[in-house]
């Protein structure tokens, strides 16, 4: 990258910061999210804010964007002390934030969404005039989007572009991007990076929040690292630090990047899916004839950009969604269109995508959450009663075994961090000793340390002979863990890649990327495109 040139060019006005945050303190119930944090942003730079989940990155930026008020600390914009009481104050001062979850009105056009909440046009809405303005602005920054399109018709990547345009239209000089790549396909990520670079060249400053080391080192000029609410590194030049060093600053301990994976000892077929078809919530075909097998002792990865039928697949397999065609055999028992409970009885474990809305009951205790699949069986069940002593004992055992950090097992799980919550779910599912484990995005949103823990647990399960179907959007994770990789696109399987622990995957990343964007493997091989 050409970041070094940029950096050199900028040293001229080094002492003048666009944004300067001093001693920011922000407290939430139970956590000190920001503990006297200082942060400096130079003009025209892409400044990455790196940190584990829950390190306080988003909190700090929400303070800057006027969404939160800090308990202590000062913010200077272009050298002037400011106090924001709303996002509007922040945007008036030139600071705009693009959140992880977009705030758009699906039934309105791109232009309408961009104008939403502005005082102009005052009375008569001549949209076509504004369409042109939006188009021009988009062209200038490489944010191609049809201003007349309705938001619901657009892809997630395009919606993100609208959010950026919204901020640019409001005259933002500082753009905060909160984990912008989480929702994007690899090709879209490259497009976003181009846009960010263009903006930096035009003199705008970008704060790039992320917990992915790789992309941070590619895109940023400087990096600040937050750990547990404190800055562990402030504004280090990106080319003066290694990924390993960054990882250490992030988690405060050595992170092992390669997991020791044993060669697989594949057993008999556990899961056999034939011509599976299912509809999504809108009644459209989400799965269009999928067939695959998972053997005991192997991890089969399912790669794909979000929304290509992965959620529906996991739901159908776990019995939470009906299938419209095809067959699912679990240890030769047909579990298609049976109750969820039937699947559980047949030895199906399921780590759902949505930890808080599906995986756990937030206001119930850790105990109540871990017995979810055991409360019908002895010893926790005693006749029609639940044996509280047994239940609590069971919960305490899991707490110790899986390092769930919680004061007591009576604590409601809503107070747990993401990593701890995931450990609760994993503990519950693994302790059921499932024959088949469906793991849906098991490490999403977790910090580096927690990710490693979860991955280890999955590998242990595999080595113990479980069949695992791993659905993930993190290609790196899939390549690390899977023995075989299936690529799904619009409810169809584009191809299979086998992964040898020693020699690596049988296809390169670009091929996988092409499959993820809809080119079947045979076609790629036939045309020789790589």
């Amino acid at each position: 990258m050409t970041n070094s040139d940029n950096a050199a060019q900028k040293t001229g006005h080094k002492d003048q910061f666009v944004v300067e945050m001093r001693g920011i303190v922000k407290q939430f119930p139970g956590v000190l999210a920001n503990d006297h944090v200082d942060f400096e942003l130079r003009q025209g730079e892409i400044h990455a804010l790196l940190g584990e989940n829950g390190a306080g990155k988003s909190t700090l930026m929400n303070v800057l964007a006027g969404l939160y008020r800090s308990e202590a600390g000062e913010i200077f914009v272009n050298g002037k002390l400011v106090s924001f009481s709303s996002p509007r104050d922040a945007i008036d001062a030139g600071i705009g934030m693009v959140h992880q979850h977009f705030m758009l009105v699906p039934s309105q056009t791109v232009t309408e969404n961009i104008l939403l909440g502005l005082d102009e046009p005052r009375f008569r809405m001549q949209l076509s005039d504004y369409d042109r303005v939006v188009e021009d602005l988009g062209e200038r920054f490489g944010l191609k989007v049809d201003p007349r399109a309705k938001v619901w018709q657009l892809s997630v990547g395009e919606q993100q572009r609208i959010e950026i345009l919204k901020m640019l239209y409001r005259g933002a000089d500082v753009l905060i991007m909160d984990e912008p790549t989480a929702v994007l396909a690899p090709q879209e990520i490259e497009g976003l990076f181009e846009t960010l670079r263009t903006m930096a060249l035009e003199g705008k400053s970008v704060i790039f929040i992320s917990h992915k080391l790789q992309e941070v080192t590619i895109i940023s000029d400087r990096i600040s690292v937050l750990r547990r609410g404190k800055m562990t590194a402030a504004g280090i030049d990106t080319n003066k630090i290694t990924r390993q060093e960054l990882a250490n600053l992030m988690v405060g301990r050595e992170v092992i990047f390669s997991l020791d994976k044993q060669p697989k000892a594949v057993g008999n077929v556990v899961l056999s899916v034939t011509d599976l078809e299912a509809e999504n919530d809108k009644g459209l075909g989400a799965l269009q004839g999928i067939s695959f097998e998972v053997h005991s002792g192997e991890i089969v990865g399912m790669a794909g950009v979000a929304g290509n039928g992965q959620s529906e697949l996991a739901e159908v397999l776990s019995g939470m969604r009906a299938n419209t065609g095809g067959k699912i055999l679990l240890n030769n028992v047909d579990i298609s269109n049976k109750s969820t409970r039937f699947g559980i009885k047949q030895g199906l474990g399921y780590i759902p995508e949505d930890r808080t809305h599906v995986g756990t009951a937030p206001n119930l205790s850790v105990t109540d959450n871990v017995i979810m699949k055991k409360y019908r069986q002895s010893p926790i069940a005693r006749g029609w009663m639940i044996d509280q002593t047994e239940a609590i004992q069971f919960a305490n055992e899991l707490k110790d075994e899986y390092d769930i950090i919680v004061p007591t097992v009576e604590t409601p799980v809503r107070l747990l961090s993401g990593g701890n919550l995931q450990r609760v779910i994993l503990a519950r599912e693994i302790s059921g000793e499932p024959a088949l484990m469906i793991a849906m995005q098991p490490t999403r949103g977790l910090d580096v340390g927690a990710i490693e823990g979860v991955q280890r647990l999955l590998l242990e399960q595999r080595d113990a002979g479980a069949a695992i179907l791993l659905v993930s959007e993190e290609l790196e994770e899939l390549l690390t863990l899977s023995d075989r990789l299936l690529v799904i696109y619009e409810g169809q399987i584009m191809g299979e890649v086998s992964i040898d622990p020693q020699s690596g995957p049988s296809a390169d990343i670009e091929t996988i990327g092409l499959m993820m964007t809809g080119t079947p493997l045979e076609q790629i091989e036939a045309e020789g495109v790589t």
Partner: protein, 376 residues
């Protein structure tokens, strides 16, 4: 860096209120303390209103207290009022735990009363039947009738997802009309809007019945319904917190998707819980006509079923707290009869309610008064 772009320049008062969420879960006693503060605050507000309207607040309060707790006799009357409230409060508690908004306790209570009356008036059992059979039979039929009134909205909700708030509310009117039909037409005594008096065998035993053995009980109307209510509150607590079924109810109530994911049959539970809820409300109806009025008559319930909603809510869906709150409400109901103008206790009841509900805010946020810092 010295210039301040501050939004607030109108700082005359040197103190400001800061409202912020509780950073930790407040201590266990705190909710009770806040409830107590709310009640005291309500009494103070009520007192001011009384004084403004020319009354003597202290005398009025003393009178209310005397009217509901002043002697053994009125304490007993308070308990009589509290008895149906306990049962409907529990009916709402178990349904609300599962986030089923049963607004139909009133109708279910009427159905329970109707069912119990049917045993006496059809008659399903001859008047000379021993109370040992008569009363259980009335309870059984009454509970079943209430449960039926819960089954209908439960089934509609489970099968077609029809909003139970609307159906339970509407079924109230149907139940009322049904009861009216029977007391006006079928069982009317001499054209009055009431049925004939039940035979003594169909009365729930009262303390006064034992006055010969224990003279203190002379004239006390507290009846067996109280024990049924207390027993029911223990039972509901056990179901909710110690049984597998209660676990399912709590799980569905907290997160329906998680319950589905755990393989729990939500449809069956919707129907079952609505039936149990209806049955408990029906039991309140049985207890009221068999323990107090001894006949089926129009308007025997001054909206107990609706009060039950408020009670369940104020008791924070805790079956034991339901008993305490019910006694408080029973006292206010009784005072309403004793005090003139009768609107006063009702007004106080309203103020207490508003204060208690508003005090919930203090459980989630704390208010701090702090001196304004002089900004340099």
């Amino acid at each position: 860096m010295s210039e301040t772009i501050s939004s607030s320049s109108r700082e005359r008062f040197p103190y400001k209120l800061r409202i912020e969420p509780w950073l930790h879960d407040p201590p266990k006693w705190y909710p009770y303390f806040i409830s107590l503060v709310a009640i005291v605050a309500a009494l103070v507000i009520g007192g001011i209103l009384l004084a403004l309207s020319g009354g003597d607040p202290f005398q009025s309060y003393a009178h209310i207290a005397r009217a509901s707790f002043g002697s053994l006799g009125v304490i007993s009357d308070t308990i009589v009022k509290a008895t149906p409230l306990i049962l409907v409060g529990l009916a709402c508690t178990i349904a609300f735990r599962m986030k089923l908004w049963n607004i139909g306790a009133e109708g279910q209570l009427f159905m329970g009363a109707l069912g119990a009356s049917a045993v006496v008036l059809i008659p399903l059992l001859p008047p000379a039947t021993t109370p040992w059979i008569f009363i259980p039979a009335m309870i059984l039929v009454g509970v079943l009738a209430g449960a039926l009134w819960g089954f209908i909205p439960g089934f509609l909700k489970a099968r077609w997802g029809i909003n139970e708030i609307i159906t339970t509310l509407m079924l109230n009117y149907i139940a009322l009309a049904l009861v009216n039909f029977f007391i006006f037409a079928v069982w009317s005594e001499g054209g009055f809007q009431m049925s004939p008096r039940f035979p003594k065998n169909a009365w729930l035993p009262r303390l006064a019945d034992y006055a010969e053995q224990i003279p203190v009980f002379q004239g006390l109307t507290t009846h067996l319904g109280l024990l049924i209510g207390l027993g029911a509150s223990v039972l509901v607590w056990f179901i909710l917190y110690r049984s597998r079924w209660g676990y399912e109810i709590r799980l569905i109530g907290d997160n329906k998707e998680a319950a589905r994911y755990a393989g729990i049959n939500i449809y069956r539970n919707i129907i079952l819980v609505m039936m149990v809820s209806g049955g408990l409300a029906g039991l309140a109806g049985v207890s009221e006509i068999s323990g107090v009025v001894h006949r089926l008559q129009a308007g025997f319930s001054p909206g107990y079923g609706f009060t039950g909603i408020i009670i369940a809510w104020l008791a924070k869906l805790n079956p034991f707290a339901v008993v305490v709150v019910s006694v408080l409400f029973g006292a206010l109901l009784l005072a309403g009869r004793e005090i003139q103008p009768s609107g006063i206790p009702r007004m106080i009841q309203g103020i207490i309610l508003v204060c208690l509900i508003a005090s919930d805010f203090l459980l989630r946020y704390r208010v701090r008064i702090e001196r304004k810092v002089q900004e340099a």
